[in-house]
Amino acid sequence: MRRKYVRALSTTALAAVMVAAAGCQDTGGSTADSAKCGGKIAIFGAFTGDNAGLVIPSLNGAKLAVEQHNTAKPDCQVTLQEFDTQGAPDQATPIANQVAGDQSYLGVIGGHFSGESDATMLTYQAAGMAMVSPSATRIDLSQKGVKSFFRVVGHDGTQAAAVTAYLKRQNAQKVFVIDDGSAYGAGITAELGKLLGPLQVSTDKIQERQNQFDATVSKVKSASPDWIFYGGYTREAAPLVRQLRAANVTAKFIAPDGLYDTAFPEGASGGAEGAIVTCPCLPADKAGGTFAADYQKKYNIAPGSYGAEGYDAAKIFLDAFEAGKQTRADILEFVRTYDKQGTSKYIKFDANGDVDPTKVVIWAYQVKGNEIVPLEELKIS
């Protein structure tokens, strides 16, 4: 028995010696100074898991922007590091700790959901990093006094205002309002309720992952509205609109940009025909760039919701690198004063980090077949 302990002890000692010999300087963190341009940015969001479908377009957009940049400027290479959070605040937080603690990251794109953005914004602020979100729309995110949070997407208020503007112009009389109880859907619907006032005749709330909507259909039928508003995502919207149509509900269907995704008409198999989707994003031909075509070419699919926003968010950082910004503080300042036409909209941030409301352009789109085609530009005020 004793011999065994001695042997174990000597093995441990040997291992310790070897470790000490092999031990090398931990270099993690320091960036090479040779490159005067370029650097590293992080992007985080739900890239896997059930909600990935909503976020992947934005990730792809950002990747596309970085790739185009790196091809065009070989002497200014930018690295985009993906961090998958599955959309969960509790996974996003350790990632924020990691990114904030690693000085080689100069900026961050994200979060894609409001929850994960809320959970991490203080950490990124403490690290002095600019955080540009392509798709977190909760209103109060930008009103907490966090100075490093920006978003290239209009918040719930903007989009609710857009829907209201469209409905009023269409002379809507009775609007039936449905939401899915998610942070996005419930948030936007609450805003819409305030704006619509008496036009909102009745409401219903469904649940995430619901498939059968008999009760909702009955309620809609007995309210006989001329418009139905739905705040939420394609997952529930596709079967909902389909079952509404199957029950011969003819009221027109309108939804904000959560449904700005060809998955919506595809999933509804014809039920979505004629539905209106508002989106604070420019139609491909109006945007001026070749974004939509490039995206289609690279990923063999149209950029869905937030594809252009992801592209824009990355573009802001790329422009910062091109302008020779090399520290977190400089980049933060650059983002704060950014003022340029982007792909999805004109990008200039107000004091809260929201896109300047006067520069937001909102378009109404309509579902035709499996396409979502631009209809008209909406003026909010």
Binding site: G49, D50, A52, G53, G181, T203, D204, K205, I206, Q207, R209, Q210, N211, Q212, F213, D214, A215, T216, V217, S218, K219, S222, T234, R235, A238, P239, R242, Q243, A246, A247, N248, A263, E266, G267, A268, S269, G270, G271, I301
Partner: protein, 327 residues
């Protein structure tokens, strides 16, 4: 609280609920059959159903179904879909039994182990349908699997139209077919279990496996049979589901499985007629709850009803026992 709406159209809501519950009932049969014989909860059964919906979608895509085909064609395609779904679901159930449950049974593992295995299996099937297949076949079969984890739409096979109206309650053709088909499948299963030679074997094993074995009943064959039967019922549910909702998705099974299992427990797990009663009741309760408040509360109401029923009738409404009910 919208009592006016509920009681104003009580008949309509009841019919809606029954149609919704018919699908729960068909899925619940799978839980109940397996539980009745093996006393274990086959949590992977919900995925058996999902495989069925994909099979329906696959067949309909293969034959090039368009929205609202003529009646004869629709009938043919429904039968084709039923065959495909029954085959796919039954096959999946059988594979689950052979690959995962049989080795565990050989060792007489405790129920908890079956449960965790089943959860692992569900995860595997969900991920294969949602990620592996779209990734590997995505290019050639986008219509079938769509983008990873995305909801996939199917063509409308029967346009929903009011079939007849009784006292202000209109029943649509889709609801009618759903209900009748579910009842027919139920009756067939009930006949099979209670009136045929094979059914007698199933009941014998359910009552007392050792004695049944002594009497020459091949236990493994009986167990395979019940898994296949449960799978076929799930396949029928998958067809009705595809007709009614027109969508499928890899993670569809989780919520539905939970509901169907609740239905089985509500009626008395292990009891075929209990599954039917539980399913229909759950569907109706859910629609009532969603009408009174809104859909986001229907799960709460469904579970509260379950707890209340279990408190007063601890083995469900009709009691347990697959064999004993008629023995």
């Amino acid at each position: 609280m919208n009592f006016d709406e509920l009681f104003g159209h009580l008949g309509q809501h009841t019919v809606d609920g029954l149609a919704k519950g018919a699908i729960y009932a068909l899925i619940a049969l799978g839980y109940t059959l397996v539980y009745g014989v093996l006393r274990l909860i086959n949590f992977a059964h919900s995925e058996v159903f999902v495989v069925g919906t994909f099979a329906v979608l696959g067949v309909w895509t293969a034959v090039g179904l368009e929205n609202n085909p003529p009646v004869a064609q629709a009938a043919l395609f429904l039968l084709l879909g039923l065959a495909a779904a029954a085959l796919a679901s039954g096959g999946t159930a059988l594979v689950i039994e052979r690959l995962a449950y049989r080795p565990l049974r050989r060792r007489n593992a405790p129920p908890l182990v079956f449960l965790i295995t089943a959860i692992g299996l569900s995860l595997v099937i969900v991920e294969i349908l949602g990620q592996l297949l779209p990734d590997t076949l995505g290019g050639t079969m986008t219509t079938l699997f769509g983008r990873p984890r995305q909801v996939v739409g199917m063509p409308t096979i029967i346009e929903s139209k009011p079939l007849f109206t009784i006292a202000g309650t209109s029943i649509t053709n889709v609801q009618f077919i759903t209900l009748i088909a579910a009842l027919v499948m139920m009756a067939l299963l009930d006949w099979f279990i209670n009136r045929t030679k094979y059914g007698r074997g199933v009941r014998a094993v359910a009552q007392n496996p050792e004695t049944a074995a002594l009497m020459g009943v091949n236990q493994d064959r009986v167990i395979m049979l019940i898994f296949v039967l449960g799978g076929v019922m799930a396949g029928a549910a998958a067809l009705l589901w595809s007709m009614r909702t027109g969508i499928t998705q890899n993670e569809l099974g989780f919520v539905l499985g939970l509901k169907a299992f609740t239905a089985a427990v509500l009626g008395g797990i292990g009891n075929l007629r209990g599954a039917l009663l539980g399913g229909l009741l759950l569907g109706v309760v859910e629609v009532y709850a969603a009408t009174l408040y809104n859909s986001s509360w229907e799960d709460v109401v469904a579970f509260v009803v379950l707890v209340v029923v279990l408190m007063f009738r601890p083995t469900g409404l009709l009691g347990e026992s697959l064999g004993r009910a008629r023995a």
